[in-house]
């Protein structure tokens, strides 16, 4: 188990990297150099950072189309990420994937899926393999509240509980599936309450900050590593921007602007910065800007894949 406290400097560096990357996306999106959908994590990044920092290097991650924070928090290559957004052949999947399908096998970050909930059973299957091979590692599966609308989520949870598989489900509950609230879609109690009925530890956490997420995930990972079977952590959070794209959607009338003000007031990027010395913050910020500039330059100077690349990487 990870002991003591989270490394705040590292956490801040990751948070800042994710935030600045996404702000950069917002800044350049209208130039249409990223010719594909993006699902921003802004406002939710600290869940990914707290969770990923609590894991071991050989643990395996499954994410989804809102994966920028997961990927970068896990230590996925910033350069390959940017090149992929640009659709270049130096991207992590040679431009064939884009923002919705981030992957970095160097850090055991599995290819992300844009079909809601569909990677959840894949994560469970990976955990089954880990158990069959008596491996130490655990699988972590990030998913949204909307994913719990899908039957496959519950089927997967059942199997994971049945076979006591080494997997941690992290439900990032931002309260919405696109513009539809959880209460509009789901009967009964919370996702974690229902999950608990499978006989697994499952708990609900209202807007936990980075340090708390780190603690929760460290403890859960520890129990899972000891062979106690799966767990689920449901954490509420708030997405600041539109479901997809880079707009603000608070003018659409489906959610109150006060919610965003509240979320901005507890911004973990600001909170973590406040725990560091101004000199530390400045140094990290400068480093992030330099890394970001280098990554974007890498993307800009990369080549588009040639037409000979269309057919590769499939079987038939």
């Amino acid at each position: 188990m990870k002991c003591g406290e989270i490394d705040i400097r590292r956490a801040y560096h990751l948070l800042r990297t994710i935030r600045r990357s996404e702000e950069k996306i917002i800044e350049i999106y209208s130039l249409d150099v990223i010719k594909s959908p993006v699902h921003l994590s802004i406002g939710q990044e600290h869940l990914a950072v707290g969770a990923c920092m609590a894991l071991d290097d050989n643990d395996v991650l499954f994410s989804n189309y809102r994966g920028h924070a997961h990927y970068l928090a896990r230590g996925g290559s910033l350069k390959a990420f940017w090149a992929e957004l640009y659709g270049k052949s130096n991207g992590h999947a040679r431009g064939k994937a884009g923002s919705m399908h981030l992957v970095d096998m160097e850090v055991n970050f599995m290819p992300a899926s844009a079909i809601v909930a569909s990677a959840i059973p894949n994560a469970v299957g990976y955990a089954l393999a880990c158990k069959m091979r008596n491996e130490e590692r655990i699988v972590v599966c990030f998913h949204g509240d909307g994913a719990a609308d899908e039957g496959v989520f519950w089927e997967s949870l059942n199997f994971a509980a049945l076979k006591k598989l080494p997997i941690l489900f992290i439900c990032e509950n931002n309260g919405y599936a696109i513009y539809s609230t959880q209460r509009q879609r789901m009967a009964g109690g919370s996702i974690s309450e229902k999950a608990e009925r499978f006989g697994i530890p499952a708990s609900f956490h209202e807007c936990p900050g980075t340090q708390q997420v780190w603690k929760l995930v460290s403890e859960a990972a520890d129990g899972i590593r000891n062979g106690n079977g799966p767990q689920l952590l449901e954490m509420t959070t708030y997405r600041w921007f539109d479901h997809v794209g880079t707009d603000d959607d608070h003018d659409l009338g489906f959610r109150d602007i006060a919610l965003r003000t509240g979320a901005r007031n507890r911004d973990d990027v600001v909170k973590l910065a406040a725990l560091l010395s101004p000199a530390d913050v400045m140094a990290i910020d400068e480093r992030v800007e330099a890394e970001l500039a280098a990554a974007i330059a890498y993307a800009e100077t990369g080549e588009f894949p040639g037409s000979d690349e269309l057919m590769g990487h499939d079987y038939v």
Binding site: K96, P121, L128
Partner: protein
């Protein structure tokens, strides 16, 4: 001699012996019947963890097989009916088939899906379907439909060793068929059809059990002096259109008998490829398959729903410019008459 079911069992036993990452999962695989004998006793020989019954949750269980395959295992997921694969479409089409391409080859999904298909004895609308064309449509999936015990064994071994998701379609009336099967391990070749009977007047192409229809049709045709070539497609994706076109170039006549509906079937694809080839104008061709309607349960309607040796022979006669009335009596399809369920 081994039965088709026993050949599958021998294949999986040899693969599980050879490779620790191979395992079997599916509803009823560890029960007393063991999927027509094809998984019988595997859990006793290799442990319960390597041959296990699953919840009735086809969607997640397919996804779990995909995930295990992503982790480097080689799962074989067995389904009692191919109809149930409709609940697995998302995982097979959106996930299994996509992972390799969308990661530019960084991961692969070496999984096998076995599914029984089958006619006769009142399987009715929801237990009789063989929608393999859905899967032939999707890049990233391979589809095999072995007809003989020999090819059943070779298909399963090839599928397990392949890094692609492979679907194997097994007709329930074939499980009891006996044939010569090498005791050693061997693989069939993907994308290679088999010529089961040489002939010069007409080419009959079948898929799984309709190959049996074609062979019987060939005997009926022989008694009318027509020499039919019979091709077992075996590999549906990739599809060996070259073998079919080569044969049709020699015979000038082609009948493709799908084991599913005709529209968008293997026959549709083969005839399209024929038409696109220089042979197009020289070969007369015809497609056969299920009647374009839901499968009925009652026997008299079931009998006319499916293609039969007679319907195949009739079309061949017509292509040869002969009167179908000259066809002799049909040998009884023993396996259809003998099959009495219980399901």
């Amino acid at each position: 001699m081994l039965s088709y079911g026993a050949a599958l069992l021998e294949a999986i036993e040899q693969e599980m012996e050879r490779d620790q990452s191979v395992f079997v999962m599916g509803q009823g695989v560890d029960d007393q019947k063991g999927q027509y004998g094809s998984t019988l006793g595997l859990h006793k020989k290799f442990g319960a963890a390597r041959n296990f019954d699953t919840p009735i949750a086809e969607d997640a269980m397919t996804g779990i097989a995909v995930g295990a395959a992503l982790a480097g295992m080689r799962p074989v997921h067995v389904h009692q009916r191919m109809d149930f694969l409709m609940l697995c479409m998302n995982q097979l089409v959106n996930m299994a088939a996509k992972y390799s391409y969308m990661s530019a080859g960084q991961v692969s999904v070496p999984m096998v899906v076995r599914a029984s298909i089958g006619r006769s004895w009142g399987q009715g609308p929801q237990h009789s379907q063989a929608p393999y064309p859905f899967f032939m449509h999707v890049p990233g999936l391979k589809v095999l439909a072995p007809t003989t015990p020999h090819d059943a064994k070779g298909s399963l071994i090839a599928a397990i060793r392949d890094d692609t998701p492979v679907l194997i379609v097994e007709h329930r009336l074939l499980y009891g068929n006996q044939g010569i099967v090498p005791a050693t391990e061997f693989e069939i070749e993907f994308g290679k059809a088999r010529i089961l009977r040489k002939g010069s007047h007409v080419t009959l192409v079948g898929v799984s059990y309709t190959v049996v229809d074609c062979l019987r049709a060939a005997s009926m045709l022989a008694s009318c002096g027509i020499d039919a070539e019979v091709i077992d497609l075996l590999s549906l994706a990739p599809l060996d259109s070259a073998a079919v076109l080569e044969s049709a170039a020699r015979t000038g006549r082609l009948v493709v008998v799908d084991n599913s509906w005709v529209t968008c079937g293997a026959g549709a694809e083969l005839l399209a490829r024929l038409q696109e080839s220089p042979l197009g104008e020289h070969v007369r061709a015809k497609r056969l398959g299920y009647a374009p309607v839901t499968c009925p349960t009652t026997r008299p309607l079931e009998d006319i729903f499916y293609p039969s040796p007679r319907s195949v022979a009739v079309e061949a006669m017509k292509l040869c410019g002969r009167d179908p009335a000259d066809l002799g009596e049909l040998a009884v399809a023993r396996e259809i008459e003998e099959f009495k369920g219980p399901f």
